[in-house]
Symmetry: C2
Subunit: 289 residues, 2 copies
């Protein structure tokens, strides 16, 4: 949590970018420190990302050799991997020669859950002399501070739901499963797996609409926490304005995240949207196992 | 698991019926033993159930006093609670005077998860001299026997996914959560909570259609197991022909359930549908904790 902030002396930063608003926000924070940023937006994941303010190279996720060549040419040895990424099918990743040579290990990395995929890619990069950094290491501004973040306070009942949610996420953690759960009145409404947080929240809204969730509107909480032992350099949970929208539509009272271990995208917009919707956002201390 | 089968000497059986095909199947099994059956189909849950072959009384789920009066008049002290039930909102349950008198306890029963709801109702009935029986106690024919049930065999990879699924369901069990999980290539695709098994399977089909699940079609398994410590008299997991349909549409290879602890609805139709679709159904031994 208390990693030293990267300094300009560390040379240019290569950012492999998936979708969403986070990659550019982080690029802006890093650039504001005076560090050079080179973007590698992923075709199929970061399409439409306005990358023109930075040197950039569009790549396919399988083009590991191309990435290494370009990053070295830019003088970048630090690499950040950030943004939304749909689990790719190997044959759609356009492996290049370098990737083909290490394919047995790539395949191994792909076979398990998401953590294995990312850990495998990290190891490939490290073996080639690159250093994988967490987005929160190069731009600590993106992490949620402790406490109630907006102007709405969680109730005692909400606190009980939050504790149950954290208990569940602890228990599910060994299974490399999604990082979010929706709970109301101590009743688990929905659990995230491959569908992602936004779709899990949409499900709660739907369950409410068709009568399968009958807790009163404005009760319950969406809890999001990092998996234990996950490599936080590329897989911290994140929330953003869209999360607030999803929580409001799901009829929940608020959002709980883990302080110092959650990325907050577009914090200003997020807090404004939460206050407007009467949604609380609380950032709780991390549990120690 | 080896409960003695109820005999005619035990008097008429009162069956409180939710939706689906199971209630009548069980009534038929019990009646075939020569035991009298009285149905209490629940308005809003069992609507459309063809109950005319049996003495029956339509009731609202809150009408506990009315149920007890009618069941006593029929000479029934054994009660079975069976069929699909949407978690009711208290104000829609039409509490009668008896229910109102015991409302503090009913409210308490409703507050926790499903298990608490059902356990609470069971206790209310027992306190009034009724005996709650499991459907599998009065009609053991409905339980899945051990082994591969259809003609399709699970592969070694399927067996590994099944073990992972059972591990997850064990871990999630204390949270009174859904009883099913979908896994492919040791990757958790979807977890059931309040939405029910059918909707969880529909989600996997959807995730596949929009590219978020990319394992090959015909890989993976839906695992369904009873929660630990749940009261099996009213809450055994069940599968039926619709489950096979959902699994086929989700692109999974098969279904795993726990032998002796899973209700199989319309077994003939289910096995025929599974064989036709190339879906395996395997019933694994129960784990001991």
């Amino acid at each position: 949590m208390s990693d030293a902030v990267a300094t300009p002396s560390q040379g240019p930063l290569a950012m492999i970018c998936g979708g969403g608003a986070l990659p550019l926000a982080i690029a802006d924070y890093v650039a504001a420190r005076g560090r050079k940023v080179v973007l590698f937006p992923l075709i199929g994941a970061a399409d439409g990302l306005p990358v023109e303010n930075y040197p950039h190279h569009w790549i396919y996720i399988g083009q590991i050799g191309k990435f290494m060549r370009l990053a070295r040419a830019e003088g970048a040895s630090d690499v950040v991997f950030i943004g939304a990424l749909v689990r790719p099918r190997i044959l759609q990743t356009r492996p290049d020669l370098k990737a083909l040579m290490i394919m047995p290990r790539v395949l191994k990395a792909f076979r398990g859950g998401d953590d294995h995929l990312l850990t495998g890619m990290a190891r490939l990069l490290e073996d080639e002399g690159f250093h994988l950094r967490g987005a929160h290491e190069v731009a600590p501004e993106i992490l949620a501070p402790a406490g109630v973040l907006g102007s709405v306070q969680p109730s005692e009942a909400d606190r009980a739901d939050i504790e149950l949610g954290l208990d569940y996420l602890d228990a599910a953690s060994p299974f490399d499963i999604g990082q979010a759960v929706a709970i109301a009145n101590r009743h688990v409404l929905a659990v995230e797996a491959a569908e992602g947080t936004d779709q899990m929240l949409a499900r709660v809204a739907e369950l409410r609409a068709n009568g399968r969730v009958r807790s009163a509107k404005g009760r319950g909480v969406m809890v999001k926490a990092p998996k234990r032992h996950q490599d936080r350099r590329f897989d911290l949970p994140s929330i953003g304005p869209r999360t607030v929208e999803g929580v409001a539509q799901a009829g929940l009272a608020g959002i709980a995240v883990v302080a110092g271990a959650t990325v907050v995208a577009e914090a200003d917009k997020l807090l404004a949207a939460a206050d407007r919707a009467g949604i609380f956002i609380v950032s709780v201390p991390e549990r120690r196992s």
